[in-house]
Structure formats: structure tokens, C-alpha cells
Amino acid sequence: MKKEWPLWEVFVRSKNGLEHRHFGSLHAADAEMALANARDVYTRRNEGVSIWVVESSNITASQPENNPEFFEPAKDKVYRHPTFYDLPDEVKHM
């Protein structure tokens, strides 16, 4: 048959209270195998309490070459930041 197993992205929650973080990727025939492999490859030393695996082909990513126009709209909106607003020094706790 000579076909490569699909690629999966692995996300691990290191401990409760933290978000799942991208740890890397691996090949597996299906989701169940991807989970088992992810455990063996990325959590051999108790690095996680929860694992997500997502087939890489299901991820839609933004393209770095479009970054200027893609992220531009946020750049000129300084009024979204607290420091934009001028308040007298006497005002405390704000």
C-alpha cells in the first residue's frame, strides 16, 4: 500500500488550571492511536494531565505573508489600551 499515516498535532495540558499547549506533532493511523502515541512521545515524565490530538489537515492557519493587512486593523486602535486615557495622578486604583 505504501501510504504514510496522517500527521496529528498534539496539545497537552500540563496541569489543571493551565490551558492545553501545542507540544509537537506525530503520525498515527487514527485518533485513538494518535492519543496513545502522544502519551508515549510527549508525556513520558508526567508532563500532562490531558491531551488533545487534532489531525493537522483540519487546522486552518493564517499566512505570515498576509500579516501586514491581517493584523493591521488592531494597530491604529490605541484607544483599546488603558494608557490611552489621560487621568490625573491623584486618581488611585485605576
Binding site: 500500500m1 505504501k2 501510504k3 504514510e4 499515516w5 500527521l7 509537537g24 506533532s25 506525530l26 503520525h27 493511523a29 487514527d30 492511536m33 508515549d40 512521545v41 513520558r44 515524565r45 492557519a61 499566512q63 505570515p64 505573508e65
Partner: protein, 318 residues
């Protein structure tokens, strides 16, 4: 893209690296950067994978359950390191099958050290102490290299390597405190692994063709000779603690330099082994290719099973 535009992009790219910015897979990069990284990361991955073979030789003959469990865990780590690195390499647009094919066809290289045989149990100690010790020195600077996926893989690898070196040194220490025969076994392993370990840092700076470019891209932070010196300086006192002798009559502390002076490395041997004439080159590739070929039906069956289940689920949903 015109040549001028490429030159311009290249200038911006080099500037980003000079500013310690990381490069991520989808970023524009010069073709040479891509190819150099594919070569280096895949060589590194292949070395981890082939590195399991000399150690695998001793799993069934480890002298105690404690040693056996540790050796198995170490070998499993090497497999893990190979996998981290292969997937980092694949982000550069090469498939896993292509990478394996390059290894199996002999097109890609792996670290020559694994073409030496593991003749006694002491060799497992010497590998952990010297080979993993040298690997750590080579690898630590890579945690900060410019290509993001490689740097992240290396952070994980380096965290795990320290156990490898300590378990190796502990094996040596136990042998050196044992019977005269056991100590002689440790000495013999040091005799055989010392020079090949020094060769792991690659040719001398004068002979090294990639150093300048690799420095720029932060694939290297120190030159081969600097790293080799660092290894010698830190390893010789460890041999002293073991009470065994480094097999180099020219080895001598140089007060003025603040480093050990050492003898001439046999570069003919190094190039022989690189070119495929080491004691175990053929055996290693034969074992590797055979494992890959004999596993093919398992890979195919797993995929067929996954496809069948996927179809079943679609039917159920209809």
C-alpha cells in the same frame, strides 16, 4: 520573484535572525536555509534512531532489573527524540517517508559514533557518560537556534539527556569500584570510546566547511574545536574520579591556556567511518531497514483498519 526582490527578502531575513527573532515554518526563508535545516535536523533525528541499536544489544543482558529498566527508558527516550526531531523537520516541507528513505538509501548521514560496536556491558556506561556527554555539549546551544520548531524540540531533548549521562556514569562508577576485572572492563570501554567521542564534534575548524554559515543562522554558537575542548576539560576530571586513564599520552593540563592539551585525532579513521567503512555501518543499516520493511504490514493494517472504521462511522451517520 526577481533576483533583486529575493536579495531584499534575504537581507530582511538575516536581520531578523541577527535580532534574535525566531523563524517559524510558514515564514519566508532562503532555500539554502531550508535545505541546511532539513539536512541538519534529519541527520540529528537519524542519529537518535540509529543510536538505539548499539544500546539495544544489551537490553536482554543488563546485569540487574534496575539497569535494564533504566536502559529501556533511555532507549525509549532516544526514539522520542528522533520523533520530536522528525516532526520538526517535516515542518520544512519534507515528508517522513522521504526522510526515512534518505536514511535507508544512505543519502543522509547519522552520527558516526553509532557505527562502533558495544562489546561489553561497560560500553553502555561509556556511551551514556561520553557519547551522551558530548551530545549534550553539542545540543545545549541548539535550544536557542533560529528555527523555532528545532529550538523547541531541543529544549525537550536536553531536559531528558541529563538522565542518560548520569545513568552511564553511574554504571562506570559501579564497575570502577568493583573487582579488578570489572574495573579493567571500564578502562577498556574508555579506551575504545574516547577517540570516537572526540570525533563527534566534527572536523577541526580549519577543515569545517559549514561553520561560518551555521554560526550566522545560530545552528552553531561555538566552533567544533571550542566544543571539543570544553568536552575534554570537563570529562578528564570525571575520569580521574573513576580512577581510570584517558588513552592519550599527550593529554596534559596547560596552565597557561587554562585547558587540557591533547593528542592528534585520527581523522583518517573519522572519514573512513563517515564514508561507510566503520566496524558496524552495514550492520546498523541492515537492522534499521529490516525493522522498517518487516513493519510495513503493521502500518498498512493499521491504516486499513482506520479507513474501515471511518467508513463505518459515515454509514452510521447517514
Amino acid at each position: 520573484m526577481s533576483e533583486k526582490e529575493i536579495k531584499n527578502l534575504e537581507a530582511i531575513f538575516e536581520q531578523r535572525i541577527a535580532n534574535e527573532e525566531k523563524i517559524e515554518p510558514k515564514d519566508w526563508m532562503p532555500e539554502k536555509y531550508r535545505q541546511t535545516h532539513i539536512r541538519q535536523i534529519s541527520q540529528h533525528a537519524h542519529s537518535e534512531v540509529v543510536g538505539m541499536l548499539p544500546e539495544g544489544n544489551w537490553v536482554t543482558r543488563a546485569p540487574s532489573l534496575r539497569r535494564k529498566a533504566a536502559l529501556l527508558a533511555k532507549i525509549q527516550d532516544e526514539a522520542g527524540h528522533g520523533l520530536y526531531l522528525y516532526s520538526a523537520c517535516e515542518t520544512l516541507g519534507i515528508s517522513r517517508d522521504e526522510l526515512y528513505d534518505q536514511l535507508h538509501s544512505g543519502k543522509a548521514k547519522y552520527s558516526s559514533i553509532f557505527n562502533y560496536p558495544t562489546l561489553t556491558w561497560a560500553d553502555i556506561g561509556a556511551i551514556g557518560w561520553l557519547v551522551d556527554g558530548a551530545a549534550i555539549i553539542n545540543q545545549v546551544p541548539l535550544c536557542n537556534t533560529s528555527f523555532g520548531p528545532y529550538a523547541r524540540a531541543m529544549v525537550r531533548v536536553c531536559k531528558e539527556e541529563s538522565f542518560h549521562q548520569r545513568q552511564g556514569y553511574e554504571i562506570m562508577l559501579t564497575l570502577c569500584k568493583g573487582t579488578p576485572e570489572q574495573k579493567a572492563m571500564a578502562q577498556d570501554a574508555l579506551n575504545r570510546w574516547w577517540w570516537p567521542s572526540l570525533m563527534m564534534f566534527g572536523p577541526t575548524d580549519a577543515e569545517s566547511v559549514h561553520t561560518e554559515q551555521s554560526m550566522k543562522w545560530k545552528l552553531k554558537r561555538k566552533t567544533n574545536d571550542e566544543l571539543r575542548q570544553q568536552f575534554i576539560d570537563q570529562t578528564v576530571p570525571q575520569a580521574d574520579i573513576l580512577g581510570i586513564t584517558v588513552p592519550d599520552p599527550d593529554l596534559k593540563w596547560n596552565e597557561e591556556r587554562g585547558h587540557y592539551d591533547f593528542g592528534e585525532i585520527n581523522w583518517d579513521e573519522f572519514w573512513q567511518v563517515v564514508k561507510g567503512q566503520g566496524p558496524c555501518n552495514r550492520e546498523r543499516m541492515k537492522a534499521r531497514v529490516s525493522a522498517w520493511e518487516r513493519g510495513e504490514w503493521v502500518r498498512d493494517a493499521a491504516l486499513a483498519y482506520a479507513e474501515k472504521n471511518a467508513k463505518k462511522n459515515i454509514k452510521k451517520a447517514m
